[in-house]
Amino acid sequence: MKRYLVERTGQLVVTIFAVMSLTFFLIRGLPGGPADAIRADLIQNNPEMSTDQINRRVEAQLNVMPDAPLHEQYVSYVAALLRGDMGQSISQGAPVTEIIASAAPWTIFMIGTAVAFAFVIGISAGAIMAYREGTKFDTNSTVLAILMNSIPDYIYGLIFLWGLSYQLGVFPTGGRFSSTTEPTVNPLAPVETLTFFGDALYHAALPITSIVFVAWGGWALGMRGNSIQVLGEDYLRVARLRGLPQRRIALRYVGRNAILPMYTSMLITIGFLLGGSIIIEQVFAYPGMGYYMIEALQLRDYPLMMGVFLIITITVALGVYVADLTYGMIDPRASVGDSQ
C-alpha cells in the first residue's frame, strides 16, 4: 500500500507539473500579449488619447516582463509557484491568490451544491430505473436522461434566465446575493447567517438547476447500468433465497455495490464542472472563477489565467487521486499494493 501511495502521489505531482507547463506555453502561444491587450482596451475606451498617453498607461500597468525570454519567464514562474506565489494579476492589480481566494468559494459553493443534488437525484433515479428494468418508466427515464444529458448546461441557463427571471421575475437575473443583504457568516448571528445563505442559494438556484439538469442524467444511466449488473450477481440470488428483507437487499447489496464506481466519477466531475462553470457564470453574471478566467483571457493576464487554470487542474488531479486512494477503503476488493 505504501508503495502504491508513493507511486500515485508521484503521478499526481508529475500530472500537475506537466499540465502546468503545457498551459504555460499554450497561453503564451496566444496571439497578442498583455501590453497588446491593455493597449486594445485603452484604444477602445479612449479614442481621443494621444499615443504618448497610451504608451505611458500601458507601461504603468505592466508589472510583468513579457519581453523576457520564455525560458526565463518559465523558471521564475515555477520558482514563485513553489513558494506559493501565483504572481500579481495585471488586469486586477492584486495578487492572483487573493483574487482566486475571493472568487473560488462562490464557484465551489455553486458547483458543490449542484454536484450534490445531481448525484443524489442521479443515483436514486438510476437505482429505481434498474429495479424496474424494462418497464415504461425505465424506458422513458432513460430517454429523458440521455436527452437532458446531451444539452449543455448554458442552454438550460439561457432558457431559465429568459423565462423565470426576465419574463416571470421569479428569480434574480444575476449576482451572488442581493445588494441589500449583508454578507454574514457568524454562528453568533444565526438569523443573519441563515438569511445570507438563503439569499445566496436563491441567487445560485438557476445556475445550480442548469447544472443539475445536465449532470443527473449521466449518473442515472451509470447507476442504472451498474445496478442491473449487480442485480444479476449470484450473491443476490443467495440473499433473496435466504429471505433477506427487500430493503436490505436494495440498500446493502445492490446500492452499495453499484454506487462504488460512481464515487470516482463524482470526484472527477467536480473538477470538470469547475472548468465548465466558466460559461454558466457568464450567463448568470456570477462573479466566480469563471468570470476572472474570461477577464484574464481577454486582457492576456497571464498570471491570473495560469492561476485559474492551475486551480482547475489541481482540483481534477486531486479528485482522481483522492478517489484512487479512498476507493480501497470503501471497497476492499479494490485495494492494491503491499498486502497483495
Partner: protein, 574 residues
C-alpha cells in the same frame, strides 16, 4: 404639486407623445435611484482614472465634473467645472464655477484645477503641445491662467478641455504632482506610480457622491452641496454590474434598470424595447475607415487606393453595419459631420471639385490599368503577375465593423480583387496587427478620434504618430493638382498647413487650410473614410421623465448623466 400630476403620466406614452418636464424647483423629492449598468464588478472597482484597471468610466460622469461639455447638436461648448474662459493669442484664462466642493467638504479652488491640468500634461496629454506647463498658475481662488506656446483657436483648445475631468483632489494626488515637479516619474511615498495607484473611496466633485460598493452595485448618493443638486429630485444613482450587451438589453426591457449610457444596439433589439424606452442618438465624432499599409507594393500606389474607393458603395456598407446609427461618408475628405450634412459645408466652393468616389467600376478599372494591372480571368494581376489580393483585418468584437467589412469584401471580390476577411481578437488586432510587429496590408480603423473640429481628424490622418508609424505614409511633400482642380501640380506639406490651421486668424483662413488638408485626404486617400457613427443611449421613462431627443441638452455625453444635472431627468412621484 397636484397641478403637475398630469405631466407625470404613467410612462406609457409612445415615442411621439411628449410630456412636459416640470420646473426643477417644483418637483417633489422622491427617495429612489436611477439604475444603470457598469462593466466593472463593484468589489473590484478603484477610482483613480490614471489607473485603467477596474476604473468605472460611466459612474465617473456623475461622480466628477468635466471642465467643459460639448453639446453635439449645435456643436457648442457648455460650461462645466469651468464656468467661463478667455482665449487670446498668447494666453488662456479659466474661471471656476462658483460653489464647487469636493465630496469631503473642502472647497474646490483654482489650485485644484492647476493640479489637474499639470497632471494631464505630465501624463502625456496633447494639451502639452500648446500650453507651457510652467506657466499654469492660480491667479486667485477661482481663476487659472496659462500661457500658450503657440497661438491656438478657442474651439480647438476647448476640444482638449472637454476631455478633462476634475477628479484629482489634493489628498490623493498632490504628492504625485510634487514628485513630477521635482523631476521624478510621478511616484507617491509608497513608490506607486500614478498609473498603479488605486483609490477605493473616491472624493468626487460631481452631483453624486460615493456611498458604498455592495454586491453587484455601486451606490452613489445625491451630493446636496453641488450647484446642480437643486435640479435633482431623486436620492441615488446606482450602477449595476452587467458585463454583456445582451444582459443590459434584457434588464432594460424588463424594467430592471432605467438607462444605458451608450451601447451598440441593433435595430431589431431597439424595436423590441417597450414604448417608454427612449433612444437618444448622439454624434460619436468618429467612424470606420479603411487603413492601408503605404509600404505595401500595391497599396502604396495612389491609383489602387482610388480604384478600391470607386468599387465600394459606402451607403450599402453603412446600412449593413447599422442602418440607424451609421452614416455613409458623403465625400471622403476626413471631415466629420456626415449625419447632419455639415461635413461638406467646409469644402465651400470647392465641394464640386472633390472626388466623391461614387461606385464606378469602369473608372476603377481605368485606374488599375494606369497602375500597370490587367484583368486575367476576372482577377486583377500586376505587371509581375501577382494577383491583387489581400486579407482585410478587423477586430472580431466590433460587430458593426464586421458587418461592414463583409459588404466591402463582396464588392471587391465581384470586381476581381481578392479580398479576404480576417477576424482578429481585439488584443491581437490592436496590439499585434496595428501597433505591433505582425502588421497588416489592409485593416479597419477609426478615421477620426472624437474631437469634432476638422483640425483633429485631419491631424490624425495626415500628421500623427500613426501616420508615420502605422500607415507608413510619407507626409513630407505630396504632389497633387491644386485644390478642386483636375490637373496641374502643387506641393502640399500637411504639417505646415496644420500649423497654419491651428493658428488661423479668422474663419476664412481656417476654411482655406481645412480645404487644403481635406484635399490631400481626398486625393491621396491616406485612409478611406467609409462611415460615421452615432452613439445610442437609452432612458426608460417608466419611473423617470426625460427630455425629448431634440433637446440640445440631450446631445451632451450622455443623456443618462448630463440631463440629470440640468433637471431634465426627473423621478416620477411614487
Amino acid at each position: 404639486m397636484s397641478s403637475l400630476a398630469g405631466c407625470f403620466g404613467n410612462g406609457d406614452d409612445g415615442p411621439g407623445e411628449e410630456e412636459e418636464l416640470p420646473d426643477p424647483s417644483e418637483t417633489e423629492f422622491v427617495d429612489t435611484e436611477f439604475v444603470t449598468p457598469v462593466v466593472v464588478p463593484p468589489q473590484n472597482m478603484q477610482f483613480n482614472p490614471y489607473n485603467d484597471s477596474n476604473y468605472p468610466w460611466r459612474p465617473g460622469l456623475v461622480l466628477f465634473d468635466d471642465l467643459v461639455y460639448l453639446e453635439k447638436l449645435d456643436n457648442t461648448f457648455r460650461p462645466g467645472a469651468v464656468a467661463d474662459w478667455t482665449v487670446t493669442e498668447s494666453d488662456v484664462t479659466l474661471e471656476l464655477r462658483d460653489g464647487l466642493t469636493w465630496h469631503n467638504g473642502t472647497d474646490i479652488t483654482a489650485e485644484d484645477l492647476v493640479r489637474k491640468l499639470k497632471l494631464e500634461i505630465h501624463d502625456g496629454s496633447n494639451l502639452g503641445n500648446y500650453v507651457d506647463l510652467d506657466t499654469i498658475v492660480a491667479s486667485d481662488d477661482s481663476t487659472v491662467e496659462m500661457e500658450l506656446e503657440q497661438t491656438v483657436g478657442e474651439e480647438m483648445l476647448l476640444n482638449f478641455f472637454m476631455e478633462i475631468t476634475l477628479d484629482t483632489p489634493a489628498e490623493y494626488y498632490q504628492e504625485f504632482l510634487e514628485d513630477f515637479e521635482d523631476g521624478g516619474e510621478g511616484e507617491n511615498a509608497d513608490g506607486e506610480t500614478l498609473g498603479e495607484f488605486t483609490i477605493e473611496e473616491p472624493i468626487g466633485s460631481g452631483p453624486f457622491a460615493f456611498e458604498q460598493t455592495v454586491e453587484q452595485e455601486l451606490h452613489l448618493e445625491r451630493f446636496e452641496d453641488h450647484p446642480d443638486a437643486d435640479n435633482i429630485n431623486f436620492s441615488g444613482y446606482h450602477c449595476r454590474f452587467l458585463d454583456t450587451n445582451e444582459g443590459r438589453w434584457q434588464e432594460l426591457e424588463a424594467g430592471e434598470i432605467d438607462g444605458l449610457h451608450t451601447v451598440f444596439t441593433p435595430p431589431h433589439i431597439v424595436d423590441g424595447f417597450p414604448d417608454h424606452v427612449r433612444e437618444f442618438l448622439l454624434e460619436s465624432n468618429f467612424g470606420m475607415g479603411i487603413l492601408w499599409d503605404h509600404d505595401h507594393k500595391h497599396f502604396g500606389q495612389r491609383e489602387v487606393r482610388q480604384a478600391i474607393a470607386h468599387v465600394i458603395d459606402r451607403e450599402t456598407v453603412a446600412s449593413n453595419a447599422g442602418p440607424n446609427t451609421e452614416a455613409p461618408v458623403s465625400t471622403p475628405s476626413g471631415i466629420l459631420g456626415n449625419h447632419d450634412g455639415t461635413a461638406d459645408e467646409w469644402l465651400g466652393d470647392h465641394a464640386d471639385g472633390f472626388n466623391q468616389y461614387e461606385v464606378d467600376t469602369d473608372r476603377a478599372a481605368e485606374l488599375l490599368e494606369s497602375a500597370g494591372f490587367e484583368r486575367e480571368d476576372g482577377t486583377w494581376v500586376d505587371e509581375d503577375g501577382d494577383v491583387l489580393e489581400f486579407p482585410v483585418k478587423a477586430p472580431s468584437g466590433y460587430s458593426d465593423w464586421v458587418d461592414a467589412i463583409q459588404t466591402f469584401n463582396d464588392a471587391l471580390n465581384d470586381f476581381g480583387i481578392e479580398a479576404e476577411f480576417v477576424s482578429r481578437d481585439e488584443a491581437a488586432f490592436w496590439g499585434q496587427d496595428i501597433y505591433g510587429d505582425e502588421g497588416f496590408d489592409v485593416a479597419l480603423h477609426e478615421w477620426a478620434n472624437v474631437q469634432r473640429h476638422p483640425y483633429f481628424s485631419l491631424e490624425w490622418l495626415l500628421d500623427s504618430w500613426d501616420t508615420e508609424n502605422v500607415r507608413n505614409y510619407d507626409n513630407s511633400e505630396i504632389e497633387l493638382p491644386p485644390v478642386g482642380e483636375e490637373s496641374g501640380s502643387e506641393t502640399f506639406v500637411p504639417e505646415e498647413d496644420l500649423q497654419e490651421l491651428a493658428t488661423a486668424a479668422d474663419a476664412e483662413e481656417e476654411r482655406e487650410y481645412v480645404q487644403r488638408l481635406a484635399w490631400v485626404v481626398n486625393q491621396d486617400l491616406v485612409m478611406l473614410p467609409v462611415m460615421e457613427k452615432q452613439d445610442q443611449s437609452f432612458i426608460s421613462r417608466d419611473r423617470f421623465m426625460a427630455a425629448s431627443t431634440d433637446d440640445p441638452d440631450a446631445h451632451v455625453d450622455f443623456p443618462t448623466t448630463y440631463l440629470v444635472r440640468k433637471g431634465k431627468l426627473v423621478a416620477r412621484e411614487e
